[in-house]
Amino acid sequence: MNKRRILVALSALSLASAVFAANQETKQAPAIAAAAQEQQPTADADAPEPATPPAPANAKPTPRSIEAAERIEGEKRFRTNCGRCHQAPHKFPPRTMATVIRHMRVRSMITDEDQRLILRYMTQ
């Protein structure tokens, strides 16, 4: 009877986690978009002489600003997630790194979004 209770409790826990996580998913996307929005003027400011005036605050994020925001976010997530066990980053070729990151996703239980952003950071 104890075994049954334990297994039922564990399965309920995993299913509840998945359901809870699914509800949270929609809240993640706006965070990156907001970061890209914040990043856009900074990325443009890196250029020595901007050819165009800075984009207004309500402008849509461009691929370049998204990429820059994701790179910064990827570095941040590397330091906060991978840095718990590993030392300074070592960059491998992209296809090798993709395997390593998948392995680490399983091993250290980083989130799907963490995996994607860290992979992008580590292969750029």
Binding site: S11, V19, A21, T96, R102, M109, T111
Partner: protein, 397 residues
């Protein structure tokens, strides 16, 4: 539970043979439906997980519309390739003046299949060489171990299903910090054997994953069932358990707990807790674990500080890390050969120097305090990590 079991044994042995046969027959009759019911429950659990995975199934990288569009445009040159990685180390320690040579090599094979599968395995080969009385030189037997051999199915962004032989997720050291090139101190914590099984691994199925509960909290979890295996070197215990952790990215703090229920022998419960903290303003790692079981209880705390903030010899200092560990162990009512036989306290301190990524030299001193005598332990080690991609393209930048 143990006392009842021990007092019950002689009574059963004193029964007449006919009664013994009848009792055994009843046990078989009553055990069969229980095992069938248990099997049904396990199947139900797996089906529930698969149902959940299909319910939430979506492209793994499709977190948002804009990102999905960008992923679609991403070139095909970051598809994962099979790789062979691993580590090697040569560890020498002097415990109470007697030397011990300990070469070790571990190979990790990673085979990704499609977008969702990963086959992974780690095998270790190590020798514990000591001087034997009356013989010259060092002698020891090669020990081979299948640390894990598992298939991982990434069902959805929040759930990964693992089957096979896997590292038991009890505490953090066994799963995350065990390889010689990752650990800060080469000696194992005293409480490491608690909850991880006879050869650090379990055989069965595991559900695990991590997800952001909010902007400031990430949750990770693992629940597993392990079957009894007495086949060396893939032996394991019959257990069920889990681990859950909360990670606060802004604080860079992770706290969590582990639980395990043994489904054999004493059917005891084991508890553990862990914490990892990396303050934002300092290159400092603080790791700690607590474990409690019938075989013993204890804790360890391990701070490690990178000297990169020192204003001189910057290149050397950023490669240098000083580390310490304090640990205590209290013996429990049940025996376990892998744990200390008496209450023990150990203090260790040392330095790591990272010559390059993956190549590390370590030197540390420790002092063990126990009723069996206090001894000094000096340890020197060199460890190396390598990565070899199998396919062409794995080497191309």
């Amino acid at each position: 539970m143990a006392i009842i079991h021990r007092t019950w044994e002689p009574v059963r042995n004193a029964r007449p043979a006919a009664i013994e046969r009848e009792v055994n027959a009843r046990l078989v009759r009553t055990a069969a439906p229980r095992s069938r019911s248990f099997l049904t429950l396990r199947l139900a659990l797996i089906l529930a997980a698969l149902l959940a995975s299909s319910q939430f199934q979506r492209p793994l990288h499709a977190q948002s519309q804009s990102l999905a569009t960008q992923d679609a445009a991403q070139p095909d040159n970051d598809k994962p390739v099979p790789i062979f990685t691993g580590s090697a180390g040569y560890i020498t320690d002097f415990t109470g003046g007697s030397p011990d040579l300990h070469p070790i090599a571990s190979g990790v094979l990673l085979i990704p299949i499609g977008d969702r599968w990963l086959i992974e395995s780690r095998d270790s080969f190590e020798v514990d060489m000591v001087q034997e009385p009356g013989r010259s030189g060092f002698h020891g037997l090669l020990q081979k171990e299948v640390d894990y051999a598992q298939a991982d199915f990434i069902a959805n962004p929040y759930l990964t299903i693992t089957v096979g032989r896997f590292l038991t997720p009890f505490g953090i050291y066994n799963e995350r910090l065990y390889p010689v090139w990752i650990r800060n101190l080469q000696s194992d914590p005293l409480i490491l054997p608690i909850g991880i099984g006879p050869s650090n691994a379990s055989t069965g199925a595991m559900f695990r994953g991590g997800f952001s509960a909010s902007q400031s909290v990430t949750v990770n979890y693992a629940v597993y069932f392990s079957a009894l295996s007495k086949v060396t070197p893939v032996d394991s215990e019959r257990t069920a358990g889990g681990r859950a952790g909360l990670f606060f990215p802004k604080l860079r703090l992770e706290v969590g707990g582990s639980f395990q229920h043994r489904l054999q022998d004493e059917r005891s419960n084991l508890f553990g807790a862990h914490a990892i903290w990396q303050p934002n303003s300092l290159p400092l790692d603080v790791r700690a674990e607590v474990a409690r079981s019938r075989e013993g209880s204890g804790y360890w705390i391990e701070p490690a500080y990178r000297l990169s903030q020192l204003p001189f010899l910057r290149d050397e200092m950023r490669r240098t890390q000083i580390v310490a560990r304090v640990q205590q162990f209290w013996v429990g009512p049940s025996a376990n050969d892998a744990l200390p036989a008496v209450n023990s306290q150990v203090f260790e301190a040392g330095v790591n120097y990272y010559f390059m990524d993956g190549l590390k030299g370590s030197f540390n001193y420790g002092r063990q305090f126990s009723s069996q005598g206090n001894v000094n332990v000096w340890t020197m080690a060199a460890t190396y990590r390598f990565v070899l991609p199998f396919e062409r393209g794995g080497n191309q930048q």
